[in-house]
């Protein structure tokens, strides 16, 4: 249901979907120029959560910055830890033992499932169904309990260290993971029956918020937004890192470009993450979980390095410029949500307001990730 923006006549009025709003999932302000119910122009105003993360990096040592990196996208913190640890290890040339790589991948994929569950709940709430949130959070409790038993924290894990992870995993964790995997597979069926097949839900998201792949390319959108528009790009397959080449998994790609396609990409990604965790648990080697002889105060050699990982919301890139001291000279964060949000303006022209919320929800934004 879309109207060509140039043919509408009549007066337009400006409305703020203000910084405090239940549907924007964070402090995001969108200045909407509306003609009746249709959106003529939607301008996101960001910066309400700007915490100067990149500047803080210039005042902290490499190890101290671990506390910050998890708080950029706090929902998928483990994956961001992964990116940062790998970037510094590449710069300083620190090898990572195999067991640590497997532990990193297992915890990252668990975190990815938790992040998608956290997206799923509020997305359905935006559309009016309040019950699937509670079911999703029940599953999320299982993951957070597992990750708490291994790292000590439930949201802002500072679990990785340069050269490995800070604590080892034990058999309880492995058993807990396997129990969780079998439980989660049933729950995915439950979500399919309750939400995905539901005709009311389908009418709300099918054909809504179409983002053609050209627009995705223009704005640099990555992650499920890009894969829901038919482009098969995933950092884990195209620029593989860690032990991902050894695992057998598929990248879900759907070509319809609407909100339903992005929804299905994320639900299928949860399934694929379960597969990856299972394989990693089967192949888990014994050995050290931390490299030896990693200096306490790390002083990487002069140079710069860029590392790309597949975050829950898209491709997260981190560039570190080092000048030989223990404090980085420059740290640049390429966050996926910034690029994903920037296509909202063009994609929402001529849409109804309620449909634009379905689009905004399906982009899966974490506003502190936009603002850093």
């Amino acid at each position: 249901m879309s109207v060509d923006a140039t043919t509408i006549q009549g007066e337009t009025f400006v409305v703020n979907m203000g910084p405090q709003h239940p549907a924007t999932h964070g402090v995001l302000r969108i200045k909407l120029t509306m003609d009746g119910e249709y959106i003529m122009n939607a301008e996101p105003v960001i910066g309400y959560s700007h915490r100067m993360q990149e500047k803080m990096a210039e005042n902290r040592t490499y190890s101290q910055y671990f506390a910050n990196i998890g708080r950029i996208d706090y929902v998928g913190a483990m994956i961001y830890n992964f990116g940062y640890a790998c970037a510094v290890e590449r710069l300083a040339g620190i090898p990572v033992p195999e067991r640590a790589e497997y532990i990193r991948v297992i915890t990252s994929e668990l975190n990815r499932i938790a992040s998608h569950l956290l997206w799923f709940g509020p997305f359905i709430i935006d559309l009016g169904g309040l019950t699937p949130l509670l079911y999703a959070f029940d599953d999320r409790e299982g993951i957070l309990n597992l990750l708490e038993s291994v790292s000590g924290a439930r949201l802002t894990f500072s679990y990785f260290r340069f050269g490995g992870v800070c604590n080892d995993i034990d058999d309880d964790f492995v058993a807990g993971c396997r129990a969780f995997i079998s439980r989660m597979r049933e729950r995915l069926t439950l979500y399919r029956r309750l939400v995905t097949d539901n005709i009311i839900f389908r009418k709300r998201v099918e054909g809504i918020g179409v983002i053609p792949p050209e627009i995705c390319r223009k704005y640099g959108a990555t992650g499920p937004v890009l894969r829901g528009s038919g482009v098969a790009y995933d950092v884990r397959k195209d620029e593989p890192y860690s032990i991902y080449p050894l695992l057998d998994f598929d990248i879900p790609v759907f070509g319809e470009c609407d909100s339903m396609a992005r929804y299905r990409v994320r639900m299928e990604e949860m399934n694929q993450s379960l597969r990856m965790i299972e394989q990693a648990l089967d192949k888990l080697p014994s050995g050290p979980f931390m490299a030896e002889k990693v200096p306490r105060i790390l002083k990487p050699p002069k140079g710069d390095c860029y590392f790309n990982v597949e975050g829950a919301r898209g491709s997260f890139g981190i560039r570190i410029v080092s000048d030989g001291t223990e404090i980085p000279y420059r740290l640049k964060l390429r966050t996926p949500c910034f690029a994903n949000l920037s296509l909202f303006e063009e994609a929402s022209r001529g849409m109804l307001l309620a449909d634009s919320l379905a689009l905004l929800g399906s982009l899966d934004l974490c506003i502190p990730d936009v603002d850093r």
Partner: protein, 153 residues
């Protein structure tokens, strides 16, 4: 004619998915609630849980192991630890006289615990911190009971 059949089939399929959805929620009616009725019931924390830091004391003498080497203070990214110490008369090593942890800025990153070589600081299992005053969260680790906020569970 095909249009009419499709019309009815769509309605029937739509109704069927609605019934399936209602059956899912109905089944949950008979499952127990997952709520933990805090404060009538409490939770047990995992061994590695990160609560506010506490000093490890020697079993017999009750003195903290801390030798005031200041590694934790240097490692903290938020500068929330303040340690002072002095060598007592006839003693071999320094003893802390002041050990303040400003919990309002602590991010529970764990660098202080990892950097300590003398096994003097660790995470506690306290999770039910609640207070109405900011002063209750400037924790004095040498006299933990004095601060109201850090009630041990």
């Amino acid at each position: 004619m095909v249009g009419v059949v499709n019309y009815f089939r769509e309605i029937a399929q739509g109704l069927y998915t609605l019934m399936v959805g209602m059956a899912v929620t109905f089944r949950n009616l008979f499952l127990p609630a997952v709520t933990v009725r805090y404060p009538h019931e409490t939770l047990q924390m995992t061994p590695r849980f990160r609560g506010p830091a506490e000093l490890i004391r020697d079993g017999e003498t009750g003195q903290p192991h801390c030798v005031v080497c200041m590694m934790c203070q240097r490692a903290c990214p938020s500068r929330c630890i303040a340690v002072e110490g002095e060598k007592p008369e006839g003693g071999k090593r320094k003893v802390p006289t002041k050990f303040i942890l400003d919990f309002t800025t602590c991010s529970l990153c764990g660098l202080c615990v990892e950097s300590c070589k003398f096994d003097a600081i660790r995470f506690s299992k306290v999770y039910n911190l609640a207070s109405t005053r900011k002063e209750d969260f400037i924790l004095d680790l040498l006299n933990p009971k004095a601060t109201r906020g850090a009630s041990c569970s």
